[in-house]
């Protein structure tokens, strides 16, 4: 996994709340067995159907920071939603609230999801709508978002922050404790089902 320390880039204002993962990437794009190339599915229905959709505007085509409304990533657990955002070029998503599974998936995969107060999101929307070249910095080391006229701290637990800063793979970390797993398996309830 790629390390995340500090990222500065242009931002894309997505003024919708409740953006579900079926919108982020429709199911028809989930049939692939690869882990890359999902950028064509990102917001596919909106990109195809609405010329005014923000990603169809040339001034936002180089954005790497997505600024979304509340409850971003609801619905289906498809991690393809994270891959589609990353494959398209996004490094981080800012929103007042994220759906649990999407948040978990994003932080596993190195897409930094940052919870900011609604007022800060509104401020950033106005800022980048007024000046699409305005840059936003997401600083994981300092746990801070910075833009012209705004410095806003954000919360992220120490463990996840450390994992992202180091770019560490969760599985490798867990396998350091394989003895504890083996020990646990010895005292599982005798009636628990097995599949074979």
């Amino acid at each position: 996994m790629e390390k995340f320390t500090v990222h500065t880039g242009r931002a894309v204002p997505l003024r919708y709340s409740n953006v579900d993962t079926d919108q982020i990437i429709p199911a028809v794009y989930l049939k692939r067995v690869s882990r890359s190339g999902f950028e064509d599915g990102l917001f596919a229905a909106w990109r195809a159907g609405d010329p005014d959709f923000v990603l169809n505007k040339p001034e936002y085509k180089d954005g790497t920071v997505l600024i979304a409304g509340s409850d971003f990533g609801t619905g289906s657990s498809r991690e393809h939603a994270v891959w589609a955002l990353q494959n398209y070029g996004f490094k981080t998503v800012l929103a007042p609230r994220f759906a649990d599974i999407f948040r978990g998936n994003s932080l596993k995969g190195g897409l930094l999801t940052v919870v900011l107060p609604q007022e800060s999101i509104e401020y950033l929307w106005n800022l980048v709508e007024g000046d699409p070249t305005a840059e936003v910095t997401v600083d994981l080391e300092a746990r801070e978002v910075r833009a012209q006229g705004l410095t806003e701290p954000f919360e992220l637990d120490d463990y996840t922050r450390w994992r992202l800063l180091e770019g560490l793979d969760d599985i490798g970390l867990t396998l350091r404790h394989v003895d504890a797993i083996t020990e646990f398996e010895k005292q599982r309830k005798p009636w628990l089902p097995v599949t074979q």
Binding site: A27, G75, D100, K108, I171, V178, W191, V194, T195
Partner: protein, 465 residues
């Protein structure tokens, strides 16, 4: 100290606990399907890691599968590749697979309970958000992403940050014609699609206790639609009666031991939930959604709401956007909304009781002119049972289509989709834009409302017939 059921199940599965780190939890059962697993298997191969516990893993084919002509090759080459990839992966890693055509094949959340492999007190995961279904047995069951699927394959554990606990207390009793689907749609409308975020919900109260196992599964299934990671219902005699004698249920001495343990799982008297929500079943009536998220629902007796009636600015904007997509006018009685399609099926409402309920309504009646009704059993066993009871005859005599098992029209991933602009009354779980096919419009309903709607051609309850 008094503990909730979710806390008890959690504590029983902690493999490792360390300051400043998430708990490492053991996973008792990993359910696998074709869509969210290929990249996980590939990850194991790349890292040269074995799948730790194939004996705690089971796979089926559900999302991509066509629901007719299942013995012909799948026409869509991309879908076919995904199915073939699962078959190869299952074979390479020694995972039991129930493929298309197998009598145990079906929607992953239908086959687990049906096999008796879903049991109280277990931790159950699947790369599918509706894994919350299994919480109806008092299991801690939740959906995970593909990275976590790979993690479970490699380690049979997951590092997890703690959940908060919420009690949804449903008092009273449901009136005839009102179902568990109406309970959960009312819960979601009440707390919103983000209301359960960070929580495991426990459904409690006399109205919940009175539900059958299958009705309980419908409630827990849609916990994710309220933003919750999981939903749970304490196991009781209804649970034990359902499980007894199923293929993977314990037997003899082990059964007695298991039941004794399962009876200790219920939330202790005096345990404190982080949040409590109250609902009165006596006040509920058939519920339908009018918008593009499952929280945008209302009793069938009401009208399409006016976005201006929402105090919150973002809810107002969301309602405006939803009504534009749904092509609905504020003030229109919901009963006057005409549909093209009725879908009965999915992990929410594709079980035998759901088919019986729909058949009871449609029996001796006809599907309205110009309406297409699809009945898709949640599993091949459900299909077999329904046929044994003659339900297939009831449906086909009414003019409905009788299909093979699969996720079907719940999501636009297989040949069963809506065309742009088509409107569907659906017993599934999500009314998102394009969920049932690009440009399709979805109203979430119970099987009873679905069947009555098929007869009248507009959103209806059996009482309207």
């Amino acid at each position: 100290m008094a503990r909730t059921m979710a806390e008890k199940v959690w504590e029983e599965h902690v493999v490792r606990r360390a300051d400043g780190e998430p708990d490492l939890l053991y996973i008792d059962l990993h359910l696998v399907h074709e869509v969210t697993s290929p990249q996980a298997f590939e990850g194991l191969r790349i890292a040269d890691r074995p799948l730790r516990r194939a004996d705690l893993t089971i796979a089926t084919e559900d999302h991509n599968v066509p629901t007719e002509n299942i013995f012909l090759p799948i026409a869509d080459p991309v879908s076919r590749t995904q199915i073939e990839t699962l078959r190869k992966n299952a074979s390479d890693f020694g995972v039991r697979l129930h493929p298309m055509g197998d009598i145990e094949q079906g929607v992953v959340h239908v086959i687990g309970p049906q096999l008796g492999i879903t049991q109280p007190g277990m931790t159950i995961v699947c790369g599918d958000s509706h894994t919350s279904t299994h919480g109806a047995f008092g299991a801690l069951a939740f959906g995970i992403g593909t990275s976590q699927v790979e993690h479970v394959m490699a380690t049979q554990t997951l590092p997890l940050a703690p959940f908060k606990t919420m009690a949804v207390n449903v008092k009273g009793s449901l009136k005839p014609g009102v179902t568990s689907k109406d309970i959960i749609l009312a819960v979601i409308a009440k707390i919103g699609t983000g209301g359960g975020q960070g929580y495991v919900i426990e459904y409690r109260g006399e109205a919940v206790r009175a539900l059958s196992m299958e009705a309980r599964m419908t409630v827990c299934n849609m916990s994710i639609e309220a933003g919750a990671r999981a939903g749970m219902i304490a196991p009781d005699q209804t649970t034990f009666d359902y499980l007894k004698g199923r293929p993977h249920a314990p037997e003899g001495e082990l059964w007695d031991q298991a039941v004794a343990h399962w009876q200790t799982l219920a939330t202790d008297e005096g345990a404190v939930f982080d949040r409590e929500v109250e609902l009165d079943a006596d006040e509920l009536s058939p519920f339908v959604t009018w918008g593009t998220n499952p929280g945008q629902g209302a009793p069938l007796d009401t009208s399409v709401p006016d976005p201006a009636s929402f105090a919150d600015a973002s809810e107002r904007a969301a309602a405006e956007k939803a009504l534009a997509y749904m092509d609905l006018t504020p003030g229109t009685p919901l009963r006057e909304v005409a549909v093209d399609t009725v879908f009965v099926g999915s992990c929410t409402n594709g079980r035998i009781e759901d088919l019986r309920a729909a058949a009871e309504v449609i029996k001796g009646r006809r599907v309205a002119e110009g309406v297409r009704m699809m009945i898709v059993p949640g599993s091949m066993r459900v299909k077999e049972q329904a046929a044994a009871e003659g339900l297939d005859q009831v449906f086909t005599a009414a003019g409905a289509e009788w299909r093979e098992a699969g996720c079907s029209m719940c999501l636009g991933m297989n040949p069963d989709t809506l065309k742009p602009g088509e409107r569907c009354a659906s017993t599934s779980n999500r009314n998102f834009e394009g969920r049932q096919g690009k440009g399709g419009r979805t109203h979430l309903v119970s099987p009873l409302v679905a069947a009555a709607t098929a007869v009248r051609g507009t959103l209806s309850s059996p009482a309207d017939l």
